[in-house]
Structure formats: structure tokens, C-alpha cells
């Protein structure tokens, strides 16, 4: 099933299918290791509801929901 990364609930995991971003944002996501095929575990949502914390390639990363909604995941 396809789903956006920002729709994940804490504890859910999946693999990256496609990234819709452009320019700086796209490159930054790639550089941090968010590439197609990467396994991502959603860790938690910040107390104010945004941003989110995810785990990939053995480390923790935080992204805003507006950035996570550019990432399509396969669950």
C-alpha cells in the first residue's frame, strides 16, 4: 500500500518509494540517506504536533510534515 511519510503513526515502518521534492530539499533528503528503497521507522511526533522524528540507516532524523509529505512510502 502506498502512503505519505507524514501520514505515518509512531512505530510504523515502510520503505521509500518515490520523492517528489525539487532543488535544495530533494538534494538534502537524498544526502541524508532518504533514497528509494530505504527503510524508515517513524519514531515520534513533536509535542506541538510537528515536526516528526524518523529512524533510518541507524540514526535519528527530524523533518517537518511539509517535507515528509514529499516522500511516498510503500508499507
Amino acid at each position: 500500500m502506498k502512503k505519505f511519510l507524514h501520514e505515518f503513526s509512531p512505530g510504523e515502518s515502510g520503505t521509500v518509494k518515490e520523492i517528489f521534492a525539487e532543488g535544495k530539499l530533494k538534494r538534502r533528503l537524498y544526502d541524508m540517506g532518504v533514497t528509494p528503497g530505504t527503510q524508515i521507522i517513524m519514531r515520534k511526533v513533536a509535542p506541538l504536533g510537528d515536526p516528526i522524528e524518523i529512524n533510518l540507516r541507524g540514526y535519528e532524523l527530524t523533518v517537518r510534515k511539509t517535507e515528509a509529505e514529499k516522500v511516498i512510502m510503500e508499507v
Binding site: 530533494k26 527530524t62 517535507e67
Partner: protein, 742 residues
């Protein structure tokens, strides 16, 4: 010889740098940007080696100033060797940068850092695999425990003597033919770093395209024939795939624990409900230890009184008071020290001419005293900041607070620095270093002084004690703080719209694992920062102090000797510039020039405002050291202002140039005189405009309250309408998500 350190943020690069260079290190700025440049010398090899610490980066893409600096340095400055620090606990993402570094024609050594931490986490790494894959030496080190550092430097020294040609992990991938074609094309133009530039052209890299526009066009055509996919993404993907496949068996994990200690700590610190309260408690503790006169409220709550003479002497308090906090205690000792120094100088200069002792004691030393008495508290705040940052908590604060700040064009990372500014702007401004976006850093530094600091509080307190017969003292203080915050928000929104426009930088941030802060590291960090700041501060402050002293002790016939301040040049200047302040309301009447003089001396340090007003109103004692009552001359001077004018005066002091220490800090961080002058201009303008608004609106209230009400209702409606309009515009915008779903 010259070695460069390159690696990810949080990879222990700075720790290694400190170990290598020790006391020879110094901090400066890379030209044109607000990024720290650290340099030092390593002396334990046959020849001395200059060490340059490149900024922490994840990639050599052309998007952030850190990345551009590192690229330009590696490509153009020809270091003899690059030491690539790789965090052994996070191999995959760290080696991604390595796959880019090895494409440059420069000798390279990999330092596999935090090997001790990796081993305690049950991670075992076979370094031979990495050596074979990249064909460069790999040395296991622990920068923290100083293990194998000599070996690393010897390996680097040996490697530096052998030339190395760039090599790419992409050379066996399906885009290899395309890379060869691009290299062929480029070789006609320039043979330097052929491989690196060829790959950058394929990646559509702006910086390289500008260097080779003709070739870029041809390569664009080649790319179109080759593949429809976007190569920037393909290349990043290939690099990561190469790493995960090649090093599949390199890392062995023995531990089965799912949650590490760091994860457990994080569950509490960023908890949905407790996260924010925990943050508030930590911040309260920081401010309490630095500024409280009654530590833990022992006096107020439990009636603790310290009466023993010897203890009072050590703590430097009057008998009967409570326990002072660490910051207050250190500050009073500092005051004792500088006070003693002034007395000593006074004694030594007894027989010298008036102007000599005046210049040194009343001018230079007292001026420096007014700023350096805050030094212990600045240091303490900065120490806490370093501990919070070192431990990994600072990134979590940004995570917790980001949402609240985004609306004003700032990210969560600006929160901690700005909060510090309620204590003192200097550590606040220096702490903006954690903001990686240059525009955002500048914006944060510009609004930093609007958060009322500790040195301004005496002004509000004095005015509050006298205005409206002292009935609304706390309300007045509160409203000044509030005005500061509101102006900061408005200024941030306006600056964002006008000057710092463009795409907002993504908030994609690593949350490093928590670890215990290293005392030695923190101290080295602190000392480095302090040296940098003190040097700038001492020159700027001394210069400004001497100018103000000269203006306030001489008239235009200065060869005739010293005069009292009422007859000085400063008084004359005050009498002239008061016309500039006419729209602000506080310079009418016979006291007018006194207020404008107080504004001018306040540019040096905000304690001077009340001190100057005391002197000019005819008091022989410093009003800061006594209780303000209505029968003092300074009270009469303040009472001569209308409430609107008094407010306008306070607001001007709140928003204008905070102090010369802050100017020095801004100069140190912005690294450019032009930007510093722009900041000074911005503060003066904000102060002028806001004070005028406050004065005229205040006057309107007192003259005709219903008209003021009408105006405020109108403004409020306008703001609400603007918001509604903006929201409507946002709703019209169909996001790609809805397109995707339908």
C-alpha cells in the same frame, strides 16, 4: 604541510581538532559568511603541520555555505592531505561523504572515530574492507580518549607524500560510460579534478555549470539520450547502494538491544506531554543559577539568613540576606576586583594631571567595568549552552519548539539563542552558530537585542518606581518586555518579506545520540569563544568608552582643561540631537538634552542610562546602588515627562543598540563591518519608529481615549483581514498530495 579535517557534524571532528592543535588553535570566520574557521598547528611530527577544520557537512552539494566552503577549499587550496573523520557508530551515512571526497585528486586518510563507543554498543568493524574499497588508509581512533591519534597523523604524513588520483564508486555502475564521456569533454578545457567536475556536471551542479557552461550544455544533451531519470537522485542513490552492498559484512552487530540508552533518555526528554515542561524547568534552572539573588528561594521560603561575618565576606552580601546563586556570587567578586583595580589606579595616578587619571579611572576602567562585571554571568550562560549543545539536547529543543517559531520565518533552532537574550544578548548571539542557514542566522541576530536583557532591567525598574506614583511598577516592566517580543515578531516578519526572502531552508536535522558532555572539550570550546569575543570586545568597548569620556569631560576648547558634564561637548551635542528626538516626545523642556545624552551613553552599555541620568539630575551617588524614591532628583527628572514620553524613552532604550559588547559579538559572528553597521542602523531605526508610534499613540490615549480606541480597533481589523486573505490564498493552492490521491 597542511592537513584538512573533513567529516559529518557530530562525528567528533572538533574533539579531534582540539586534541591535535591544543592551545595553538584559533577561531576566525570564513570570508563573507558566518561560518567558523578553526585553524591550528600539530607539532608532534617531523615537520609542523597546519590543521584546518572544515565545517561539518553531510555532502559536497552546492546548497549550504558550509558545503561550498569545504568544496572550494579542497579543490583550490591544495591541502597536502585530507583526514576524513567517520563516526563508527553511524558508518553508512558517514561514508556517503567519503564516496564524494575520494573523487577529488587529493591524498586522503579515513579516521574511524568513536571506535570505543561502537565496541561498547556491540558493533565490530572490519577496517580492511573499507581500505580495499576506497584504496586509502583507515585508522581506528578515539578522539575522546586520545587513542591512536599519533598513528593517524603518521599515516596521514606518509600518505601526504604520495599523489592520489580521484576515484569514484560510480565507476562500476551503469552510468560509468556517461562519466567517461563527460571527462573526455572536460579534458579539453581543464585537467584539474576531472572526475569530480565531470560527476558534478552530471548532477546538474550549479557551481560547476557556471565554470563550464559550454560543456554543461553538451552534457545536458548526452544525459537526455542516456536516461530519462533525474541523475542527481540516481547518483545519490547509487552511492548509498554501493555503501550498503560493499559493507554488508563489514559491520557486525552483537547487541540485540532494540532501544539504546540514548533512545530511553529521548523518550523522556521529548515526551508528548512532559517534553515542554522539562524544557522549561531546565531553562529556569539555568537562569536561576546565573541570576538569582536568593538561591533556591531559601530566604523567601524558609527564612534562611546568612549572618556570620566571615561567610558574608566570602559571599559578598549584606548580613541577613539569602544565599546568592553562583552567577551573582561570581559577579560581585568581579565587581570587587575591578573596583579594587580602579582604586589602585586612582592611588597610583594621584599626582598626575586630572585628565590622565580621569581618562584611565573614570573613562577606560569604569567603562570596562560596566561591561566586564557581566562577564561571569555571560560565561556561565555560555557554559550551560555548551553543555546543552554537547549533550545533544539542543537539537531536541529545536525539535520541540520548531512549530511555534516557523510562522515568524524562524526555525526551532533559533529558540534557545533568543531565550538566552533575556539574560544577556552576547551568549545569545554567539549561540546562533547552531543555525545553519546564513539568512536565518542574520535575522536571528538582528532581533536578538529586542529581548530585554538583564542590564536593561534597572531602567524599567527605576521608571516603574516613579511613573504613576509607582502604582503600576510591575505592569510597566511587564509591558516593556511584551513590547520587545511583539516588535521582534513584527521585525522578523518584515525582514523575511523584504530582505531575507527566497525559499525557506528545509528543516532536516540529525538528532545526534545523547552523550555525557566532556568537561575538557567544553572548556576548550568556551575558551576559544571567549578569546575571540574578548579581543573584539576590548577594542570596540575601549574605543567607544574613550570617545564618550572625552565628549563628556571637555568642551570644545578642550585644551583649557576638564569641565563638568553640564558644560561638556556631550551636553552641547545632546542639545543639538534632541531635535532629532522631537517626534519621540521625551526631549521637550529643560531636561530634554539630558535624556538625549543618556541615550547616547546608553549605546555603550545600558547600565549607563540610569547612571548618566543620576549624574545629570545632580545626584552625587549612583542611583543603581540605592532604592529609588520620589524625593530623589532623578525622580523629579523622570516625573517631568508625560507617561507617553517616558514610555517612548524606555522603548527607545529597549530597541536601540544594546551595548558595545553586543556590537562586538555581532561583529565577531557576522564577520563583516558592513553587516555590523547595517545591524546598528536597523536597531536605531526600529527604536526610532517604535518610540514615535508609542509616543503618539500614548498621547492620543491621554488626550482623547475614544479616538485611540478607534485607531486600535481599525488596526486590529486590518490585521485580521490580512490573515483571512492569506489563509484564503493558501486554500486555493492545490497541493501535489490531492493531485496524487485523485
Amino acid at each position: 604541510m597542511k592537513f584538512a579535517l573533513a567529516g559529518n557534524p557530530n562525528s567528533g571532528k572538533t574533539t579531534l581538532f582540539n586534541q591535535l592543535t591544543g592551545s595553538s588553535a584559533h577561531v576566525g570566520n570564513w570570508p563573507g559568511v558566518t561560518v567558523d574557521k578553526r585553524e591550528g598547528v600539530y607539532k608532534k611530527l617531523k615537520e609542523k603541520v597546519d590543521i584546518v577544520d572544515l565545517p561539518g557537512i553531510y555532502s559536497l552539494s552546492p546548497y549550504s555555505p558550509e558545503e561550498i566552503i569545504s568544496r572550494d577549499y579542497l579543490l583550490n587550496e591544495n591541502p597536502d592531505c585530507v583526514i576524513n573523520i567517520v563516526d563508527a557508530t553511524n558508518l553508512e551515512r558517514n561514508l556517503y561523504l567519503t564516496t564524494q571526497l575520494i573523487e577529488i585528486n587529493v591524498p586522503l586518510v579515513i579516521a574511524l572515530n568513536m571506535i570505543d563507543a561502537a565496541e561498547t554498543n556491540g558493533i565490530e568493524i572490519n577496517t580492511c574492507d573499507i581500505e580495499k574499497a576506497f584504496n586509502v588508509p583507515v585508522v581506528k581512533i578515539s578522539a575522546l580518549k586520545k587513542e591512536n591519534i599519533k598513528e593517524l597523523m603518521e599515516a596521514a604524513y606518509r600518505t601526504a607524500k604520495i599523489k592520489r588520483d580521484g576515484f569514484s564508486v560510480l565507476s562500476k555502475s551503469f552510468i560509468a560510460p556517461l562519466i567517461e564521456d563527460a571527462k573526455m569533454l572536460l579534458s579539453k578545457e581543464n585537467k584539474n579534478n576531472l572526475l569530480f567536475n565531470a560527476i558534478k556536471l552530471l548532477e546538474n551542479d550549479d557551481k560547476t555549470i557556471k565554470l563550464y557552461p559550454k560543456q554543461a550544455m553538451e552534457i545536458e544533451n548526452m544525459k537526455k539520450q542516456f536516461s530519462k531519470e533525474d541523475l542527481e537522485g540516481v547518483i545519490a542513490d547509487l552511492r548509498y547502494k554501493y555503501i550498503s552492498e560493499t559493507f554488508k559484512n563489514t559491520v557486525k552487530k552483537h547487541s540485540k538491544e532494540i532501544l539504546s540508552r540514548s533512545d530511553k533518555i529521548d523518550r523522556v526528554m521529548t515526551h508528548k506531554i512532559w517534553g515542554i515542561p522539562i524544557f522549561l524547568v531546565i531553562m529556569f534552572a539555568v537562569f536561576h543559577i546565573t541570576f538569582s539573588e536568593d538561591f533556591l528561594y531559601l530566604n523567601k521560603l524558609y527564612g534562611l539568613e546568612i549572618n556570620a561575618d566571615w561567610l558574608c565576606n566570602i559571599l559578598r552580601i549584606d548580613a541577613g540576606g539569602g544565599l546568592p546563586s553562583l552567577g551573582v556570587w561570581l559577579q560581585s567578586w568581579m565587581g570587587w576586583l575591578t573596583g579594587g583595580l580602579i582604586e589602585l589606579a586612582n592611588g597610583l595616578l594621584e599626582n598626575s594631571p586630572d585628565w590622565v587619571s580621569g581618562l584611565i579611572c573614570d573613562g577606560l576602567l569604569s567603562g570596562l567595568d560596566s561591561i566586564f562585571s557581566f562577564l561571569p554571568q555571560i560565561l556561565l550562560l555560555f557554559l550551560f549552552l555548551s553543555i546543552l549543545e554537547d549533550s545533544g539536547y539542543m537539537a531536541r529543543v529545536a525539535f520541540i519548539m520548531d512549530r511555534a517559531f516557523r510562522k515568524f520565518g524562524l526555525s526551532g533552532k533559533a529558540f534557545m539563542p533568543l531565550l538566552m537574550c533575556f539574560g544577556c544578548g552576547v551568549p545569545g548571539v554567539i549561540a546562533t552558530k547552531t543555525l545553519e542557514n546564513d539568512k536565518e542566522r542574520n535575522l536571528t541576530m538582528l532581533i536578538a537585542p529586542f529581548f530585554s536583557c538583564g542590564a536593561k532591567l534597572p531602567i524599567w525598574a527605576t521608571f516603574g518606581a516613579i511613573m504613576f506614583a509607582g502604582q503600576f511598577g510591575d505592569l510597566i516592566v511587564f509591558s516593556v518586555y511584551l513590547i520587545g517580543i511583539v516588535v521582534a515578531i513584527i521585525a522578523a516578519l518584515i525582514l523575511k518579506k523584504l530582505i531575507y526572502k527566497g525559499e525557506t531552508s528545509p528543516f532536516i536535522m540529525e538528532l545526534p545520540a545523547y552523550h555525557r558532555p566532556q568537561f575538557k572539550n567544553t572548556m576548550i570550546h568556551l575558551w576559544g569563544k571567549l578569546k575571540h569575543f574578548l579581543f573584539k570586545a576590548a577594542t570596540i568597548i575601549a574605543g567607544a568608552v574613550i570617545i564618550i569620556w572625552f565628549l563628556s569631560n571637555f568642551n570644545f576648547e578642550f585644551w583649557n582643561g576638564m569641565v563638568s558634564i553640564e558644560n561638556s561637548m556631550l551636553a552641547k551635542i545632546g542639545n543639538v540631537i534632541k531635535y532629532v528626538f522631537y517626534p519621540l516626545g521625551f526631549v521637550f523642556g529643560e531636561n530634554g538634552w539630558k535624556f538625549s545624552v543618556a541615550i547616547v551613553t546608553g549605546l555603550i552599555a545600558k547600565e549607563m542610562v540610569i547612571a548618566t541620568m543620576g549624574t545629570l539630575s545632580g545626584m552625587s551617588e549612583d542611583p543603581l546602588e540605592m532604592e529609588i524614591t520620589a524625593d530623589l532628583p532623578i525622580a523629579a527628572m523622570i516625573a517631568s515627562l508625560s507617561p507617553a514620553a517616558a514610555f517612548s524613552f524606555m522603548v527607545f532604550n529597549l530597541l536601540s543598540v544594546p551595548c558595545m559588547a553586543m556590537v562586538a559579538a555581532i561583529y565577531g559572528e557576522m564577520g563583516s563591518g558592513k553587516r555590523t553597521w547595517a545591524a546598528i542602523g536597523f536597531w536605531l531605526l526600529s527604536a526610532y519608529v517604535t518610540s514615535a508610534v508609542v509616543y503618539w499613540f500614548g498621547t492620543l490615549i491621554s488626550v482623547c481615549w475614544w479616538a485611540a480606541l478607534l485607531v486600535s480597533v481599525l488596526v486590529l481589523t486590518l490585521v485580521i483581514l490580512l490573515f483571512v486573505y492569506k489563509n484564503k490564498k493558501n486554500k486555493n493552492h492545490i497541493s501535489h498530495i490531492e493531485k496524487f490521491k485523485s
